[in-house]
Symmetry: C2
Subunit: 412 residues, 2 copies
């Protein structure tokens, strides 16, 4: 029968791991908190992009049901302070599929391929201890709240003790797509950022607006305003915010058609970025591995969370099929293999939340150099490289100097 | 001009790294302690095998001057207590080239390809500090003695505080090669092991005998006996040791032709296995990376030292050409990428020096199962896998049980 793996959580990391294991005939049970149809009918979960490396894993798993050529986008349109505008192209398209469409479909794929799905509304550490008696390894992929006691915070990798943005994500009609179809990356210095995302959702194509509002800034109220109290007032305030802070989006809005789809298509809140330990030993002697938000929580600004979770899940899957005992040695190997990627996602995102001068200089350089901007954009697939370039003032300076030297010698 | 790397040491790790960097047009200076001709004329340095993965790197570097098909060997002939004999075949041949032949040739290759070789008889930590002003990164590859202050001992990975074997390695005539040509791996429980190696040396093909003598055992005197005091008596004692403890070698000896080549073809001594930290920050602010014996010292019993050093050098070379600043982030990446391999070499060798019952059981299983023995033998190229199989009783038990289950279901 081979090894049996227990996965707690049915988000992207749990599903990509579960599907990987089923593709290798490994028995696996997934403990999810909601039935697929309840997820379909539920509230907006996030607005995250899947980048090329994640889509490649979906292709390998046979679950790339939304062809990136049709559903995806090809670039980032940047706008700083309304005026400075510059585009960065991807080597390969990314896409944003509403997780209320995406996750239920993959849960059904998982079951069709022999994966066992058990619905347990609320799983705590005691449940993990108990379930571990039935599995050789537990993988914890439950999101950021319920398993805090199991995996200790890594202070050395967690620079913040509170949210750096107050978030408002919603699905809107009445915004024409940019040309070429891309994500709008809008900066309003001192107030925050807007990610304007071409999303495919339950009613088809639309635009997700993810407002990343600096606490105390002019836009923070967007994270608290209650839509149901007065939908028209809500839509009016959002449109005013676009006009005042994010003109590159406002200019494509049809005011008569503009508005949030519905109350359930809005997600407001805040999160504290955190990196946790990779694994824990359970009292049963078995091990629990953290993955996705159970392992690292990143602000959604750079659109990396799901991609990091999927990368991490794949690393775990490869390690499971290559090994035969899931002990501390196994867990340490997983930790080592994913660290470069997963910690870079966290370090890079944390850096961009409060960009130091050398990062601002780099953004300035990108605005004047499309090839550099294309490279930065495609490197959304390579967060380790982003930190290699941006991690310290010395790194950014040396990178830009070497680049300038290459261009000069090419010009000679 | 690009980055400049300073390498202290001209052993296998320094040379493989230097040649890798020259293949990528990176300026590099190597600080060696001896001219090539002095190494050629000197004492035996070791008797280490290069396994397939190391030979593959030599091929990639264009320095595989001793075709493994002609100079190499294809198997391990095991013998436990004189009676129990069993063979393990490699997937690809390994070879033993005397380092007095090997190193000088690669030093000349390095210089011909634009590498700078500087001879400095004795380099200490102060010299590294001074030299670091001329290089962006220092790589320390000087062997196991002279740089102890720079890289701290890792107690968690260094189980021994004294040598586990007293060593005698020498090059002998008068021993017919085994058929097929292989390394003899002889065990004399309680007294030690003999590695019988088909070596290519300054006067052509011969046999290296590496006696791994347990301190206090009957064979320890081999590590202390002075050849020059009475060469004939020395040869007689070695032959008696073979007859009493290692009959599978003794039976291929021609007594009239048997003997050590010469005084300079003998190396006696002992070493304490140790794992050190990967890197250190110099007072100049630059970094020094440890490689080879400067990083980990392993007993030669499993023939892994040079292979681990070469693997590590390659990892460093790849990291250097992929990055543009050689700071702590860079050093941590190197550490992470080589850890699985290099620490497994150390863990595996340390385990075999004092094999616990589950390892003895595994050797027993190999003696009855040639496919298992072939796998173990080819895994001299994959030390991480060796520890996956042998690292704990649970791992060995689960591995053998899964293997038996596969065979049973195949037989049905």
């Amino acid at each position: 029968m081979g090894s049996t793996i227990g996965i707690v959580g049915s988000g992207v990391s749990g599903l990509h791991l579960g599907l990987f294991l089923r593709a290798h005939d490994v028995p696996v049970t997934m403990y999810g908190d909601k039935e697929p149809d309840d997820i379909r009918a539920g509230r907006l979960l996030n607005t995250v992009g899947h980048h090329h490396h994640t889509l490649e894993r979906e292709r390998a798993l046979g679950v790339h049901h939304w062809d990136a050529g049709e559903y995806g986008y090809v670039c980032h349109h940047h706008c700083v302070g309304g005026e400075l505008r510059f585009r960065g192209d991807f080597d390969h398209p990314s896409s944003v599929i509403d997780y209320r469409v995406y996750l239920p479909r993959l849960m059904e794929d998982f079951q069709e391929r022999g994966g066992e799905l058990v619905i347990m509304p609320s799983v705590g550490v005691e449940d993990v201890e108990r379930l571990s008696q039935h599995h050789e390894l537990m993988v914890i992929a439950v999101g950021r709240r319920s398993m805090e006691d199991l995996f200790a915070r890594r202070d050395d990798k967690s620079p913040y003790d509170r949210p750096q943005r107050r978030l408002s994500a919603g699905i809107y009609s009445g915004i024409e797509y940019s040309e070429p179809k891309g994500v709008g990356v809008h900066f309003s210095p001192g107030h925050g950022e807007l990610l304007e995302l071409p999303i495919y959702s339950h009613d088809g194509f639309a635009t997700a607006l993810l407002f990343e509002n600096v606490p105390g800034g002019a836009l923070e109220p967007l994270a608290h305003l209650r839509y149901d109290d007065d939908p028209a007032a809500y839509d009016r305030l959002v449109l005013e915010a676009l006009r005042a802070h994010y003109p590159m989006a406002a200019e494509r809005v049809d005011p008569d058609a503009f508005g949030l789809w519905s109350s359930r298509d809005l997600l407001q809140g805040a999160l504290t970025p955190i990196v946790r330990e990779d694994y824990a030993r359970l009292s049963s002697g078995r091990y629990a591995l953290a993955v996705g938000d159970s392992h690292t929580v990143v602000d959604p600004m750079m659109g990396q969370g799901a991609n990091s979770a999927s990368y991490s899940a794949w690393t775990i899957g490869e390690a499971i099929v290559a090994d035969h005992v899931y002990d501390e040695r196994f867990c340490q190997r997983v930790a080592r293999r994913r660290e470069g990627f997963v910690h870079s996602v966290s370090d890079w995102t944390n850096l961009m939340l409060n960009p130091p001068p050398h990062v601002m200089e780099f953004i300035g350089a990108m605005s004047q150099d499309k090839a550099l901007c294309d490279e930065f954009t495609s490197n959304f697939n390579d967060p380790e490289r982003q930190v290699d370039v941006l991690g310290t003032p010395e790194r950014t300076r040396a990178f830009l100097a070497a680049r300038a030297a290459t261009h000069e010698s090419a010009a000679v």
